[in-house]
């Protein structure tokens, strides 16, 4: 009786997990870009619009009326409620999803969400104008999302609801890691700008830092930072929890606990197979190829989501009824 879970509520759990993770990773994405800007010599102008492309939000940006400048893009990504992928929108959706399930998650989660939402809506203006305030705000977003995750991990029973939240989180994380890996100097600088010699190491350091992966990577691969190793680490490392492979393995663990997960497991196994077959050495030598590969990975992840949708959130009622009749008569 208590194990039952409405499809709609399951979907709310799942999307709550996704939106929390999306808010956090969008903050990480902006931090990565900002750090890179500070590292570049001669205040080379960064093309902030690339972040709009990275988050696949070109259409929303076009209709938003913002200029593709640093403040315009920041406002769009942090506080624009018309951008469904902005940090504020993600938090809003996370809270809306939470409403339908708040008697099933620890109360502290809802309280943290309220605090975070208030902070972002009140302080976004200052954060867009001043670089120092920006970092504080974005770091605050990361911290609060980690607090939410901490309460979930530490105080929520491992029932179906928990599995759906975690599935959503780690699938979103895999997706966002591929996007953050795509934030690199080549894209960020105007075409005719000459790359500084150290740019390769700098950009990957920025990516690693934005994923809180720098220390773990250092332990994993001491010595000079090489694109090949970082790509290998972020895509395929089995122990770092934000690597694509690791996020998908976690997804597999959680999805495996859901009822009749065959369809979903098939999709995630295909994605894991794709990730494992990638060769970091090849990708690091060819930026265009890396970019295309990351795009393809995002499509594979969409298939995993589609399997979740089919299996749990939007099953066809008539098929369901047929199954039920068979079960009852069988």
């Amino acid at each position: 009786m208590n194990a039952q879970l409405l499809s709609r509520v399951a979907e709310h759990f799942y999307w709550f997990g996704r939106y929390i993770e999306r808010a956090e990773n969008t903050a990480r994405l902006i931090i990565a870009n900002g750090n890179l800007a500070l590292d570049l010599p001669g205040r080379a102008r960064l093309d902030w619009y690339t972040l709009v492309e990275t988050t696949s939000a070109q259409e929303a940006f076009a209709s938003s009326g913002h200029n593709p400048t640093e403040p315009g893009v920041l406002r769009f990504l942090i506080a624009d409620l018309n951008n469904p992928g902005s940090i504020l929108s993600s938090l809003r959706y996370a809270r809306e999803n939470l409403r339908s399930m708040r008697d099933r998650v620890p109360r502290e989660v809802a309280e943290s969400m309220n605090v975070l939402y208030a902070v972002v809506s009140e302080r976004s203006d200052g954060a867009i104008r001043r670089t120092s305030a920006r970092f504080d705000l974005l770091r605050g977003v990361m911290d609060h999302c980690q607090i939410v995750r901490g309460y979930l991990a530490g105080t929520m029973s491992r029932g179906l609801g928990y599995r759906f939240i975690r599935s959503g989180q780690v699938l979103e994380r895999a997706d966002m890691t591929t996007r953050i890996m795509d934030v690199r100097v080549e894209d960020l600088l105007p075409d005719d700008h000459e790359l500084p010699a150290v740019a390769d190491a700098l950009q990957w350091m920025a990516v690693l830092r934005s994923l809180s992966a720098y220390q773990m990577y250092r332990r994993h691969k001491p010595g000079a930072i090489k694109a090949r190793h970082v790509i290998d680490f972020l895509l395929q490392d089995e122990s770092f929890p934000r690597s694509v492979y690791s996020a998908l393995s976690q997804f597999r663990d959680h999805a495996g606990q859901l009822p009749q997960p065959q369809d979903v497991l098939g999709a995630v196994d295909a994605a894991l197979g794709d990730v494992s077959s990638l060769r970091a050495a090849v990708l690091s030598a060819d930026n265009a190829r890396l970019h295309t590969t990351l795009d393809q990975l995002q499509v594979t992840l969409l298939n995993v989501h589609a399997a979740m949708d089919r299996s749990y959130f939007d099953p066809q009622p008539m098929e369901m009824a047929a199954t039920q009749t068979q079960k009852q008569s069988g």
């Binding site: 709609r8 399951a10 009822p259 039920q324």
Partner: protein, 492 residues
């Protein structure tokens, strides 16, 4: 420290005060509670109020709507002074309410079947013809236990001589019971001393009683029927109550889209395990939105085929569709006759005397006394079209008179009641003191295999001085209602 101002009830104006009148007659519990409150310094009272408000806010977190639209956040002003009713009187009210709802259910059942009451000339057929809540689709139905209105919220007021009247019966989707439960929880924190020194009867039984009432409606003979609360969704103003009751009962809170009716005419909910049969639906959406196949085709809140499943007897609905036929204001006037007709008993709880404009003599009286009476259209709610004679202008009376002449059957009139008052905390800081404010009371009556009445109910209070309007949208608030048993008190 300043001394609290004395409490000046409106007794001299002909009002009954729920606490002061009984205290002045020497009733010990009322005297004790009033003295306790009057002995408190204004600052102390203000501090208790602040603490209560903080508690409401904290508890409100579980209810608060997580959205930008602050408007759907239901923080209803709460007054910390309890409204006291003695157990002996409450027992009489309770018996009267049970009797009344029993008769109303018999009436609804008759109306949708033989209509014997019309054939016997006790109830006029034209009332039914004019009713907006009569549902042809419900004809011939026999819900379990003969009960249609399983949850009834009746609004009670006290007149100047202390008599308790039923002002109206809400037989469709009455709300407010969650406030009753929450108010008690806040009061236990605010005035623990009073709970220690007086025997205040608990109210917490309601969710279990509601569950039992619903479970007894299950069409399937199973030890654990599948019960759901059907809500219009998060944007409904009473959503928190829907969610609260589902949680308190341990049943699923569903929206229309979570349910579907299969070819076997049974209702199922969509779960991650596949479809799960539903036995009982506590629906909190109006009749006309229940089933787009039968009622409003544009309704997205309901479930296509739900009426089919209900008519086939495969699912129970509380309240049954069509129950609203008995909470029409014209029907109201007939309730005493309805009680006598079906139960062969005299009504134990009073109806407000009502003039039917459909009757030429009564209509003439109303038209001659518009300045003294309250005139209500039969089929409007929310105060629309209401005329309060003593507060009306000549042109308003003229307009109402014209409307009455045009369609007398659509109008009723009642004497202007002097609603009772109860002490209420007003002012702030050193000026914090008790002042009389008008109140009503909404108890909830459950009817299924057995009947149950909440211990008290939700007291609503008009927080503005002199106001008679208790609605939250118009400066109303709520109070905890205490049914007190003086015999159960520690004499030490």
């Amino acid at each position: 420290m300043a001394v609290a101002k004395r409490y000046r009830p409106l007794l001299q104006d002909g009002f009954f005060d729920d606490l002061a009148t009984l205290a002045s007659r020497g009733e010990s519990s009322s005297r004790g509670i009033l003295d306790f409150l009057l002995a408190m310094a204004p600052e102390d009272l203000a501090q208790r109020r602040d603490a209560a408000e903080a508690a409401v806010r904290t508890m409100g977190i579980t209810f608060t709507v997580y959205s930008e639209a602050g408007a759907i956040d239901r923080m209803w002003p709460f007054d910390i002074v309890p409204r006291v009713i003695l157990l002996a009187e409450w027992m009489q009210i309770e018996a009267g309410l049970k009797q009344r709802v029993r008769a109303l259910n018999a009436f609804i059942n008759d109306i949708y079947n033989d209509q014997q009451i019309i054939k016997d000339g006790v109830f006029p057929a034209w009332v039914l013809e004019k009713s907006v809540n009569f549902r042809e689709e419900c004809r011939g139905m026999h819900p379990a236990h003969g009960v249609w209105a399983h949850i009834c919220g009746s609004d009670l007021v006290r007149g100047k001589d202390g008599t308790v009247y039923v002002l109206e019966d809400n037989l469709r989707v009455p709300s407010g019971v969650s406030y009753m439960l929450e108010n008690r929880a806040v009061m236990k924190r605010t005035f623990p001393e009073l709970f220690e020194n007086h025997y205040i009867l608990p109210v917490d039984e309601y969710p279990s009683q509601l569950y039992e009432s619903l479970a007894a409606l299950s069409p399937r003979d199973t030890s654990e029927p599948s019960i759901v609360v059907l809500t219009p969704g998060i944007f409904n103003s009473a959503y928190f109550e829907h969610s609260y009751l589902a949680q308190q009962m341990g049943v699923e809170l569903v929206e229309g889209a979570d349910l579907f009716v299969a070819d076997d005419d049974c209702v199922y909910m969509r779960t991650v395990h596949g479809p799960l049969r539903v036995d009982v639906i506590y629906r909190r959406i109006d009749d006309l939105f229940l089933d787009p196949e039968v009622f409003r085709p544009d309704s997205t809140l309901g479930v296509p085929g739900l009426m089919r499943a209900w008519r086939a007897g495969n699912v129970a609905m509380a309240n049954a569709p069509g129950s609203g036929v008995a909470d029409d204001k014209v029907v109201y006037a007939f309730v005493p006759d309805i009680v006598r007709y079906y139960l062969n008993e005299e009504p134990q709880i009073a109806n407000v005397p009502t003039w039917q404009c459909a009757d030429p003599d009564q209509c003439a009286y109303v038209l001659d006394h518009l300045e003294e009476v309250v005139v209500k259209p039969a089929n409007e709610s929310g105060g629309y079209g209401l005329l309060i004679g003593p507060h009306s202008s000549a042109s308003q009376r003229k307009a109402t008179a014209a409307s009455i002449r045009k369609d007398p059957r659509n109008w009723i009139a009642q004497p202007c009641l002097n609603l009772s008052t109860t002490p209420t905390l007003v002012g702030s800081g050193a000026d914090c003191h008790l002042a009389p404010r008008h109140v009503d009371l909404r108890p909830f009556i459950l009817s299924s295999a057995e009947q149950y009445v909440t211990m008290g109910g939700l007291t609503r209070v008009a927080l503005r001085e002199g106001s008679l309007v208790v609605n939250s949208s118009q400066g109303g608030g709520s109070k905890d209602t205490w049914i007190v048993d003086p015999d159960g008190e520690d004499s030490a």
